[in-house]
């Protein structure tokens, strides 16, 4: 059959057929090339801008350079929060092929604890830009540094980096005032500019560090860099250098702070000292404190657990959050309230028995002095701290005038200007009790409030601030930590930062009250007569706050009680009485007798007014004293 076909083959026709097919193919080729050109035209001309942007997005990355953090100084230029250069072992995960092998190799060179590896793994999970190194071991000792440096060439992706870490040279006494910085958590990043904190090692968490975070942090440098596909920086396109954080100068006096902390001895408690002329906080002590340096690079689970479970609550900021009954330290304020609203006068005599009854045969509210004080007047009620006088006064007044008057001193409010987490305490009122207990206010409630007990609760900062108002004869400033920020004075919200003035109907009552409080020390029956003999005048008031309620006729017997049930010992004072430079509130938790805070306060006055510190505090003097 093939043979038959071959006979009649028309070669010319076959040639033309194949040539036509070649031509057809050429047309196809041409058409398909047109498709390609069209596609290129579409991508390169029509969509060019889109792809140009995409290409730039690929290669251009913003890298932040953390600014050096501002320092925190005390009033004399003592550095309370410092930046310290350290050497840290860091790892660039992108350059590590085998983590297990790296782990083994590193462990033969230096000690890396299991928790450091865990922290590292945790950091690995968190957000970070490619090729950003992660700290594996911070603060290498010189020996470790030397060891690692020798073997560094073998360890691709591992490097020793010089970094600035935060350092608190004076540790626990300042922890509650200065606060600390800590590892940046994803929660922190919700409130700050993520980009700015890229590459930052820590963020202010508490205290001044927390409140002034923005100021101390400064402005991160922004580097526009060109990166390759793996995120590695190839070149720098544009550089915006970081602006260092501003220094914060506090009113705090480092020596006073440390001295007050030490004077509390092994008691828990709090001391707050305020300069009445400015509202500046000279000392803000909450004891026990803790070592803030533990938090800087992330506290270990064990250390944190120890702090949290300690019965002395070292993490609890008593100065800001401790709710204490102000006890008898409230009496000067109560007396002024009575005078203001006409429920008391300086001349009226009152017979003080050993107890007070609202109704005959009613409950007996006991005086601290069983035998009573006999005939007394208002001034003597302050000097001898006569409870029954204030029971009756409070009962006469009722809660509303008390509430209104004490509010003017900042009780029941959070007036601290530049620390977060302050508690408002509790200044009770009719409305409050109705809302809280669905019960009316009873006269007995007022009676208890009359001696700063019962429902009333205040924080050390509040009582100290109210004391500074007494010292200033009604003229006072809300308490504040910062004096200057950078080179300029610390700015606060207009209404808050300014002076406040409590104007009494009879402004002479301020001086009379100051005089009464002076006699608390100078009078032979004054409850703080042990402070007699200073070259300057002290105005003060003692207080002992009940930790638990005694039954009506039960007697307080310190010896038979567990120390944790001892009364809190309180003292407020300011000096010199005529032109006060310092006002203090001190509380010894379960201190029993108010002699402890009274002695402490006097020591602080001596030290602050006459620069009469024990020599061991010379290291905290600062340049202003040199």
């Amino acid at each position: 059959m093939n043979r038959g076909h071959q006979k009649f083959r028309n070669y010319r026709q076959e040639q033309r057929l194949t040539q036509r097919r070649v031509l057809a193919a050429a047309v196809f080729v041409f058409l398909l090339v047109c498709v390609l050109i069209g596609r290129l035209f579409y991508l390169q001309v029509i969509e060019h801008d889109l792809y140009q942007t995409k290409a730039d997005d690929n290669r251009v990355m913003l890298v932040t350079e953390p600014p050096p953090r501002g320092l925190i100084y005390d009033r004399n230029g003592v550095v309370l929060a410092d930046n310290r250069p350290i050497h840290s072992l860091t790892v660039t995960p992108e350059r590590i092929a085998d983590f297990d092998a790296l782990k083994q190799t590193l462990n033969t060179i230096i000690d890396i604890t299991e928790s450091e590896w865990q922290d590292f793994d945790r950091a690995l999970e968190e957000y970070r830009r490619p090729y950003q190194s992660i700290t594996l071991k911070s603060q290498l000792t010189d020996e470790e540094w030397a060891k690692v440096s020798v073997d560094l060439y073998k360890l691709d992706g591992v490097q020793v980096e010089a970094q600035l870490t935060r350092y608190y040279p004076f540790g626990e006494a300042f922890a509650h005032a200065v606060g600390y910085v800590g590892r940046i958590t994803s929660k922190d990043l919700e409130t700050v500019d993520r980009l700015a904190y890229q590459g930052a090692l820590f963020i202010g968490k508490t205290g001044v560090e927390g409140y002034y975070e923005e100021t101390l942090f400064g402005q991160a440098g922004l580097n526009k860099v060109e990166v390759n596909a793996r995120g590695r920086i190839m070149s720098e396109l544009e550089r915006q250098t970081p602006t260092p954080g501003k220094d914060v100068h506090l009113h705090l006096d480092a020596r006073l702070q440390q001295y007050a902390y030490d004077l509390l001895g092994d008691y828990t408690g709090s001391v707050v000292a305020i300069d009445p002329e400015t509202g500046g906080i000279l000392a803000l002590v909450s004891k026990p404190g803790y070592d803030p340096n533990l938090f800087v690079r992330g506290i270990s689970v064990k250390d944190y657990g120890d702090l949290r479970e300690s019965r002395k609550l070292p993490l609890f900021n008593r100065a800001l959050r401790g709710g204490y009954p102000p006890a008898s330290t409230i009496k000067p304020f109560m007396a002024l309230a009575g005078l203001e609203y006409g429920f008391a006068s300086w001349t009226e005599q009152y017979y003080a028995k050993g107890y007070y009854q609202i109704n005959p045969n009613g409950r007996r509210y006991r005086d601290w002095k069983r035998s009573g004080h006999g005939w007394i007047d208002l001034e003597r009620s302050i000097i001898e701290s006569v409870d029954t006088y204030y029971y009756q006064l409070a009962n006469k007044m009722g809660i509303t005038p008390i509430h209104n008057f004490l509010t003017r001193f900042g009780f029941g409010q959070g007036n601290l200007l530049d620390l977060r987490g302050e508690s408002r305490g509790l200044l009770p009122s009719n409305e409050w009790k109705k809302a809280k207990y669905k019960e009316p206010w009873y006269p007995g409630d007022s009676v208890n409030v009359g001696i700063g007990q019962g429902f009333m609760v205040a924080t050390p900062v509040q009582i100290a601030s109210a004391t500074s108002a007494l010292a200033g004869k009604g003229h006072y400033f809300y308490p504040r930590m910062a004096q200057t920020i950078g080179d300029s004075e610390a700015q606060f919200e207009e209404n808050l930062g300014k002076e406040h003035r409590i104007v009494l109907k009879d402004q002479g009552n301020w001086d009379r009250m100051t005089n009464a409080m002076r006699r608390v020390i100078t009078d032979s029956k004054g409850t703080a007569r042990r402070l007699r003999g200073t070259e300057y005048d002290i105005a003060g008031k003692t207080g002992t706050g009940q930790v638990f309620s005694l039954q009506e006729d039960q007697e307080y017997d310190a010896d038979s009680l567990d120390r944790r049930l001892h009364d809190h010992a309180l003292f407020i004072g300011f000096a010199p009485a005529e032109k006060p430079k310092i006002s203090v509130f001190a509380i010894f938790e379960n201190g029993g007798s108010s002699s402890k805070p009274a002695d402490l306060t006097r020591s602080l006055f001596d030290a602050y007014l006459y620069d009469d510190y024990p020599a061991k505090y010379d290291y905290l003097k600062g340049r202003n004293h040199e």
Binding site: F8, T18, R21, V22, L36, R39, Q52, A55, A229
Partner: protein, 373 residues
């Protein structure tokens, strides 16, 4: 003056000397244009790696030698050797399936003594059209239905074996090179239209035979943005490179996509994206023009060939070369799936350079062994 220059150029290309050494001047000149441009791009695409460029140049030089040697061989010898070569290669392909070595789950290589490796499927790209052209050499055209069936069977056997390695790209190109012969031999248009209609069905069947990685490539093709960091990365980055190049390009060695490694496979399959980024549409146009010169000359040689075997073979080889180029540029620019076809003579590496140069040897042989008509 200019006229005489033109005449001199004509006489240069027609010189008897070229005919004597069996070199087609126009073809080789277009090839040199393409190769030169390719090396130039490769220098940039490889990250200015001169060693890589030298290796590529060496490979091209070897290819050129193969090309020139093959050009000396008269087409009639090739024709006679065709069935033997085909049978031999088919055996080798079976060998590959049994003893082959390779990487990434595909075995494409036959180990040779002395540590050398050999990829029979690559040679099949030439031998397949030789075989089909041989089949038609002594038969009257156009082919009968029975002949079509025989030819399709001949095509299918090696194609399936190559596809099983698995090497989808090469098997498709081998199939295409055989089908082109069929087309050039005058395959009836009704068959062609019928095939075009049943193509979706074929595609479905093909889908069933695809390995997961191949299917993934197809899926990614339809929606590359769906997996921007994984499978879609290549296409997204190559489109970005091409598009950002614009009309004039960013300049040699200035392509950020290529130089900063955003473009994967930038020196192999995706090298055209480097050209497009750095030299823009103008650069791409020039490269395509160089390809068209080569392809145009190839088709011219095919049209002018003296017998059916030579015509069919030359035409098919040229068209296959075009398909290489079209598929590569199509896939890099995102209109065809990523099937792993290099840009012929420009992409770095591969046995393909030698085989492609061999096809041009065959074309030159066909052109220069003609009896004067």
């Amino acid at each position: 003056m200019s006229e005489s220059l033109y005449q001199r150029a004509i006489s240069f290309t027609n010189a008897r000397l070229w005919k004597l050494v069996h070199v087609d001047v126009l073809l080789i000149a277009s090839l040199f244009l393409l190769i030169g441009g390719g090396l130039f791009i490769l220098y940039s695409a490889s990250g200015q790696n001169t060693a890589m460029v030298e290796r590529q140049a060496l490979r091209l030089a070897i290819g050129l030698v193969v090309c020139l040697v093959l050009a000396q061989l008269p087409p009639k010898y090739m024709r006679r050797a065709s069935p033997v070569l085909f049978a031999f290669l088919a055996l080798l392909l079976i060998g590959v399936l049994l003893f082959g070595v390779g990487a990434k789950g595909a075995q494409r290589w036959l180990p040779l003594p002395g540590g050398l490796r050999f990829q029979p499927s690559e040679i099949m790209k030439i031998v397949m059209p030789m075989m089909i052209a041989w089949y038609f050499a002594h038969k009257p055209l156009p082919p009968t239905f029975k002949q079509i069936l025989v030819v399709l069977t001949l095509i299918a056997v090696p194609v399936v074996m190559i596809a099983k390695q698995p090497d989808l790209g090469t098997s498709l190109l081998v199939a295409v090179s055989g089908i082109f012969v069929l087309f050039l031999a005058g395959l009836g248009w009704r068959y062609i239209i019928g095939a075009a209609i049943s193509a979706p069905l074929a595609a479905y069947t093909l889908w069933q035979f695809m390995h997961e990685y191949q299917r993934q490539r197809v899926r990614t093709f339809w929606d590359p943005e769906s997996d921007p960091l994984g499978a879609g990365w290549n296409i997204i980055q190559s489109k970005t490179a091409i598009g950002s190049g614009g009309i004039q390009g960013k300049g040699w060695l200035e392509g950020t996509q290529a130089q900063l490694d955003f473009l994967p496979e930038s020196h192999t399959d995706f090298i055209i994206a480097v050209l497009a980024e750095e030299f823009g549409m103008l650069g791409c146009g020039l490269l395509i023009l160089a390809y068209l010169l080569v392809i145009g000359r190839g088709l011219f040689i095919a049209a002018k060939a003296s017998d059916n075997y030579a015509r069919l073979l030359a035409g098919s080889l040229t068209l296959t070369f075009f398909v290489y180029m079209f598929v590569n540029i199509g896939m890099v620019s995102g209109i065809l799936p990523v099937v792993g076809v290099p840009l012929p003579l420009v992409s770095y590496g591969g046995t393909s350079i030698i085989t492609i140069m061999a096809t041009f040897g065959i074309l030159m042989s066909i052109q220069t062994h003609k009896r004067a008509i």
